[in-house]
Symmetry: C2
Subunit: 990 residues, 2 copies
């Protein structure tokens, strides 16, 4: 996949570009060397004044320090009209460069801090040069704006680092993927044809039936790789990663004792550092010459492509494995939501279809039964007829029917299936992306950690001087140093938990008081709308609270994690995720938990109600059951959260930020001559928002997964809404990555890390929660118990009557009986509970029915939980983690690799033998003219073995030795840099 030049897109002002200049801003000024990374720093205002004065003088002056084969272009390119300072090549003695840079600027007047930063930058960039990178710098073009340092990694550096990083690259060897025959073949071709319209139009190497063997890059084995061009052998993402790796480990010893670019950014030495995008994302010219970014934009990052599969391989190629895994995960999740949605719709449809034949709701609506219910509030409320609540009863049946139980089991297994499926996909991806066996790189400590460690050391040294004792050197922070952090952490988290709970409680109080007040209002219109008004407003308040706290908690979690002073970035991320997840989870689900398990359970009974704040009765569930309330709560929070977060936080706020930034930029440079020259790619990219991790994206999805799995028993349509949201979400995220963010460094990752654990934990939690929702929140168990234990006819006839207890109206406490009752003749009113009737010996005590129903509910929980856990274990056991095809392919690849190298060893041996017989001398100075064509003999066969060992007892002929050697090198899955067998050195052993 070659990067097409962008000549036709970016308008070039002034002189037409010379043929070498292939595209604006993607290469150095020579038009040859790719810009692999950009470092940005801001010139301060005071120095900018100076440069405004001197700028016009030095603007056209180029100072190039280079001893590569690139001709020095000092002042040779006046046509471009831009100043550039190119430094490259290792032979330019580092000290020299440093001195030169130092003397050139050291004499000018600058403030101390700026001076220091300047020196740090000089040393750092000198060290980059030493590491082999090449650097191009603009000479104070922009007086007050950002200054860009462009970095190019030449081929030898790429090779070195690729070997170091064990980057796997395709070899020349390829093999045919197994073709299915007969029935399977025709099926798969039909499948492929059916899939055609859903496939994105992306051409990638490995498509089709052949697969190239890949192997860790090694400079010894260059002849094995398919190197068509040194410029494109490593794609841009890999190049960026390689440069980042060097930036990360380059030290800065003299001017500041730090290591790596991230510390320098934290110290403010640099503003930011990023690899460049592949060019503009808008396609203007021919469709064939699209660069990867354009392809992604066309085929992936647009809403009209919503029905297509994602070009995951290209995403990975462009953004790296970590981002690729995120989108792959999102894709798998979305795909698996499809069956869940379908089943959810069917279950909902079952509810709709059976609502007219459902006996309990029919009995409730039937006015002939004439159940006189006890008043809903003290004094002001009157007795009422159950048939007036017919609507909620019917609505309740839509969600609370036997199919829901099936759906809950289905969704619990679905969660297991989803995790298993993802595990497989992850392994498939890590196979096709050659991630098997990559190891965690050792990480440098975070800047914050280092600063605090330094402070501790200094403190210790002071006390040491005082005490004059030999204490062990301080080499790490212990729990003692972190104690205050932990303390603040725990107290803050507890405080925030309290905050969440009080928010929930506040809403409850709001509901209770408002409904009591409205019930007392004389207006009948108000009275009749009490429930609807209160529920709706309360849920909206809940939603707003959740959204606000969500943002606050995100920031607080960040702050708290900083206080813990985690050592490495991974460590930081993990702790942050755990904290943020805990807080956000609590926040999002606390009101739902309340409605599901606590609302309406502490009401008391007529004549003995539970009161809060003196005379507000605890709230009850709707007459149709608590499930319908849970359903309303869940659906509004879920939909509201998704819609608002998508629209405002993901689209609105970034746009706003961008606007503000561009306004600021303009303000800062009122006399900018932007119209004078076209913006370079680095200018364009710098204008984009920086990439700051995938955590928010994952977090949003995981919370959504909670809505889909945790309370799915109460809302079968949740998967459908999640599906609709995700279809948009994928494209929204894609758009963000392609058009609105700077290109992230292509980070490697084997898996999605801690998110998998969180998902799996939620899956487990969902089993028990759904068990409780079905048995305690829904009416499923009472109905079953009635039908099989109490019903005289064995049907549901009389169920409503059975669930309502009697209350003797004379037993009302003084003042709590209805004051202006329209029902004068009432002696008994009914209420929903299982209690002994007033004429029983222990009146109003919990009845035998209550205990039998409770036992049945609890038994159901045990049964459900253990059944689902058992089925889950079976599902996880039946689905192998590694797909069979992958296992077979791995075996095959291993075999092929062994054969490949066996062949090579054999050839080598034959060559050596023929050389020995001819007794000729090797030409040791053969020119390596073109490495991809001529295979210089010396390179591969320079080791001179003294023939097969004929020592003591001589084990194994040459063949055996070859086999053993190549086996030991290539039977490993991990990258073991293959070595040229050193037959002569072996001889020393024999």
């Amino acid at each position: 996949m070659q990067i097409s030049p962008l000549e036709d897109k970016i308008p070039v002002m002034g002189a037409p570009p010379s043929p070498q200049v292939r595209s604006e801003g993607l290469h150095f000024l020579d038009g040859k060397r790719k810009v692999d990374y950009v470092l940005v720093f801001h010139q301060r205002r005071h120095s900018s004044i100076r440069s405004l004065v001197s700028g016009s003088v030095s603007q056209d002056q180029l100072s190039v320090v280079s001893n590569g084969n690139f001709p020095p272009t000092k002042g040779s390119d006046p046509a471009t009209g831009r100043g550039a300072d190119i430094l490259g090549g290792e032979a330019a003695s580092v000290g020299e460069v440093f001195m030169e840079l130092g003397s050139a600027k050291g004499s000018e007047p600058m403030e101390a801090i700026d001076q220091e930063m300047h020196l740090i930058r000089q040393e750092f960039e000198a060290n980059l040069l030493e590491a082999g990178l090449e650097i191009e710098r603009e000479k104070e073009v922009k007086p007050n704006g950002p200054s860009f340092t462009r970095i190019h990694a030449p081929w030898p550096v790429l090779c070195r680092e690729a070997e170091f990083l064990k980057i796997r690259v395709p070899t020349k060897a390829s093999y045919e993927l197994k073709e299915e025959r007969g029935f399977g073949s025709s099926m798969s071709s039909i499948w492929r044809k059916l899939n055609q319209p859903f496939q994105p139009k992306v051409s990638l190497q490995d498509h089709g039936s052949t697969k190239f063997l890949s192997h860790c890059f090694s400079r010894d084995k260059l002849h094995l790789y398919n190197i068509s061009s040194k410029d494109t052998f490593f794609d841009n993402a890999t190049r960026g990663r390689i440069v980042y790796e060097i930036l990360r480990r380059t030290v800065c010893v003299r001017t500041c004792q730090t290591i790596g670019i991230s510390t320098l950014i934290a110290k403010g030495v640099y503003d930011s550092a990023f690899p460049l995008h592949d060019g503009d994302y808008k396609v203007i010219g021919h469709l064939e010459e699209r660069n990867d970014r354009q392809v992604l934009h066309e085929e992936w990052a647009r809403y009209s492509a919503f029905y297509k599969f994602q070009p995951i391989d290209l995403v990975r190629k462009y953004f790296g494995e970590k981002v690729g895994l995120y989108f792959a995960w999102l894709g798998v999740y979305t795909q698996l939501l499809v069956p869940a949605s379908i089943v959810g719709i069917i279950v909902f449809g079952y509810g709709v279809a059976t609502v007219d034949t459902n006996l309990p709701s029919l009995e409730m609506c039937d006015e002939r039964f004439n159940f006189t219910m006890c008043p809903l509030c003290d004094g002001a409320c009157d007795f009422w007829h159950l048939s007036t609540a017919c609507g909620t009863a019917r609505a309740s049946h839509l969600f609370d029917n036997p199919a829901t139980v099936f759906f809950a089991i289905f969704m619990s297994l679905w969660a297991v299936l989803f995790l298993e499926h993802w595990k497989r996909r992850q392994i498939s991806l890590s196979f096709s992306w050659d991630l098997t066996g990559i190891e965690e790189d050792e990480e440098h400590p975070r800047p914050k950690y280092e600063t605090i460690l330094l402070q501790k050391r200094q403190r210790k040294q002071k006390t040491k001087k005082k005490r004059k004792k030999s204490e062990p050197a301080v080499d790490k922070l212990t729990w003692k140093d972190r104690l205050p952090g932990y303390f603040i952490n725990i107290s803050s988290i507890l405080f925030m938990f309290g905050l969440t709970f009080s928010a929930v409680f506040g809403v409850i109080i709001y509901r209770i008081t408002v409904s009591a007040l409205m019930a007392m209002s004389p207006d009948p219109e108000t009275k009749s709308n009490v429930r609807v008004t209160v529920t709706a407003t309360a849920v909206i308040i809940n939603l707003v609270v959740i959204l606000v706290l969500d943002e606050i908690y995100g920031a607080v979690a960040q702050w708290l994690t900083e206080l813990e002073i985690p050592k490495t970035e991974t460590n930081f991320e993990e702790r942050l995720i755990m904290k943020a997840f805990m807080l956000k989870f609590m926040n999002a689900y606390a009101p739902i938990f309340y409605v599901a398990f606590f609302k309406g359970r502490f009401v008391g009974r007529p004549g003995n109600y539970v009161y809060v704040f003196d005379n507000y009765r605890m709230e009850e569930c709707a007459p149709g059951g608590c499930l319908i309330e849970l359903c309303i709560q869940l659906s509004i929070i879920m939909l509201g959260k998704q819609l608002i977060q998508n629209n405002i936080f993901e689209i609105g706020i970034p746009k706003l930020k961008k606007l503000i930034r561009s306004l600021k930029e303009k303000e800062a440079t009122p006399n900018a001559r932007e119209d004078e020259k076209p913006p370079q790619q680095w200018n364009l990219d710098y204008a984009l928002a920086p990439f700051d991790g995938l955590t928010p994206e994952y977090m949003e999805m995981i919370i959504q997964f909670g809505f889909v799995s945790l309370f799915v028993a109460s809302f079968p349509l949740a998967p459908l809404f999640a599906l609709l949201n995700n279809i948009i979400e994928i494209r929204l995220d894609a758009k963000k990555f392609v058009t609105e963010l700077r290109r992230p460094v292509a980070a490697r990752a084997k898996d999605i890390g801690i998110w998998y654990n969180i998902l799996s934990g939620m899956g487990k939690l969902s089993v028990i929660i759904n068990a409780f929702v079905i048995s305690f929140t829904s009416d499923f168990i009472p109905r079953l118990v009635y039908q099989y234990m109490y019903s005289p006819s064995g049907t549901m006839h009389g169920f409503i009557d059975h669930t309502l207890s009697y209350f003797n109206v004379t037993n009302f406490k003084p003042g709590s009986a209805p004051q202006n009752s329209a029902h004068e003749d009432v002696t008994f009113c009914r209420y929903k509970d299982y209690r002994e009737p007033p004429w029983s010996s222990d009146a109003y005590q919990l009845s035998k029915q209550y205990w039998s129903v409770l036992a049945a509910r609890l038994a159901f929980v045990i049964l459900f939980q253990n059944l689902v856990m058992f089925l889950g274990l079976i599902v996880a056991w039946v689905i192998p983690d590694v797909p069979k095809t992958i296992v077979e392919q791995l075996k095959r690849e291993k075999k092929l690799l062994v054969n490949l190298f066996l062949q090579e060893e054999k050839e080598k041996f034959q060559l050596i033998q023929s050389l020995f017989t001819k007794d000729s001398i090797l030409q040791s100075n053969s020119q390596p003219s073109n490495p991809s064509q001529g295979l210089p003999i010396l390179g591969r066969y320079s080791t001179l073995p003294s023939g097969p060992a004929a020592g003591d007892g001589g084990g194994g002929g040459p063949r055996a030795r070859c086999r053993a050697a190549s086996f030991s090198q290539f039977s490993g899955k991990t990258c073991s840099s293959p070595k040229n067998e050193n037959a002569s050195s072996r001889q020393t052993a024999v």
Copy 2:
């Protein structure tokens, strides 16, 4: 650790041994080359007649084919008086040897099958020679007995294969383990002193504070390893493994199309194949010169060492990792049983201490309460007083008290802790045994599989000829081929499940009928002992049935797994384990499950009893509760199983087998001249029983783990008995391995495999089972419910009265009332159940109490299960899988290795530079005199780099290159054979 010579132990008859002959039977006849492996085959009787005749002629004749540096000793050693045929060295053309062997014997008269076997042996051994092994053979010494082919692996073969197998060996580099300072140090030294008497007296390399870095063996890096002697660098177990590896993959093409020694053994070509023990296990001479086997025997494999830790490292060194892991696991399990036992004893002690203050049992024993109970059988039995059951009530309290609940939670967490602890230990071991990153070797198919595949191919070819269609070649067995096997499997397993259940049911019937018959007996003595007699005999019957079925099921599982035709040995083992475990688990626990959850639950009530077989009433639990019965059942089965299996199956039967074998041997060779010459080590080892896997050992322990974890709530002393058993078991197994079994091939294993999953599954199951035992089998919940819901005083007073329902004796069905009652005045009798009294409106219906207790029981199950699961998750999360010290050591080792090789690369580079400046020519013929001292220059530095690359832009100086190269080699945890960097081949790339 050097292998000490055994001169002083084995009595040598005849001439005194020459100085070279270091020990009898551990070396070839030259006394130098170690016998690493022995192949045994039996001469048939007919040929033995021949050799009896010709034996005396050829006995002293030695034919040695060898071109190593070992001088041909043809007939030069008549003093030994034994014929030997030594073949060695690769240059002895294989064809030649084959021809020679063929012509030497081909002409003699033999039966066809024997002839064929002989030819196969010849080809196989010729191929072994080609692979570099050296072979010594006796020339028909024993006419009718076993013939031994001794195999020796010379140094080059060992090197080659060690590289191939990626065997890790210690390098010269070592590092100090971090010493704790201050308080920690003194604590650990105290700890060490306290531990001193428990440490076995074993000296091993790595002991102390230094640890040698280990690295995969590579012939390029010989100078890095600590090679003091080529004979002892690889220990005997490793040598055995290396030879086995060659034996396993050596093919036999001409005479029979098979691969590997195991197929040949299966075909009967060889009788057996095993590596030799290190000598005799009895120490006769000095203690200092003990060989490993003797050390193991002294310090490990004796009962008097029961209090000591196991010398696991030595066990691993001698028997290999797989056996080492078994004993390490057994050790961890036994150690962790200590705290469990202590807590169990305390819990039991609590029961003993509180038995006199326990109100329910006091009330039961109090004669003043005078509960008249309903008769236990129809007609014959009389009413009885509850106080007569005082004994069982008191006994019941010992096991059924609140502490039991705590103990059940404790033991569930203990199981989690055990698994986590073992995980850590396993990782520590795999670190110190250098097992990190070993891969599964590709396995050859089992002989059975190959045979059936061959048959299938032949069948297919026939049908192919008929149909003349081009079908795909048969390359594996599909499910179609296995269908009959699966069918038989499933039906057999179902049949055996049925068998187990009917055995359990049979014992129930026995109990019911016998107790009914005994109750009817006129003898009052018989009557009073009914319960004791019946229970005791029934449990013993159960035990016998379990023991018998256990053995049968073991054999059946083997047979069934063969029917499934698994492809590889690992596959076979896994399937066998699953099947055997399922059957044995069922068998051992079915009666216990019955007592725990079913006994006494289907009794019915007075006046409406449940009858089986017309007029036998279902059995009830003892008046003290079901838990005491469960306890008796569990303890007898557990103890009986352990005692009988240990004594009879593990000690008795092997002894018997040995006796029979030796008797047979004697019978077969009546005229053996055994007294004539001392038995060689291979004779001694051949007389031992073959090693046939660890499956039975693991299985026994896992079933025991079930007793300890599954029903531990009912029998807190189970861990104690398990502990006592295991202390013996370890030494018993050790004795077996050291003295009674042939030495197993030192197999590598990373973990204990499927057993871990089984253990973890049992841990999970134990949670739910214990929850049910506590809530349903014990009286814990009814007591709680009574105390907090029904007790008028809030104490346990009146609990017994509360649990007993009333029965009006006039409601007895005709004939079921007591016929000769001593209690004439009884109008109401009591029975244990929660039912409405006769005077209630719904008499004898389950009462409200029943339902409330049931609800409480179920709630407890939910609470217990989820609490324990949650705590288990926390425990597993808190304990990191990899110990911190290991993580740190790994990091340190990685760094050290990198430094080591960096140093080397630097030296090399400097050397090259100095050579270049001197412009001198390397001596290419330097003699590799002593590999451990002189480092021949050519071996390590024969690559001739043309100086630092000065190509286009030249990235990275030599230093950078060195760093990159060595990093890429040694940062891997897995064995990546390090390569000598080929600087010149790199140049081709630049």
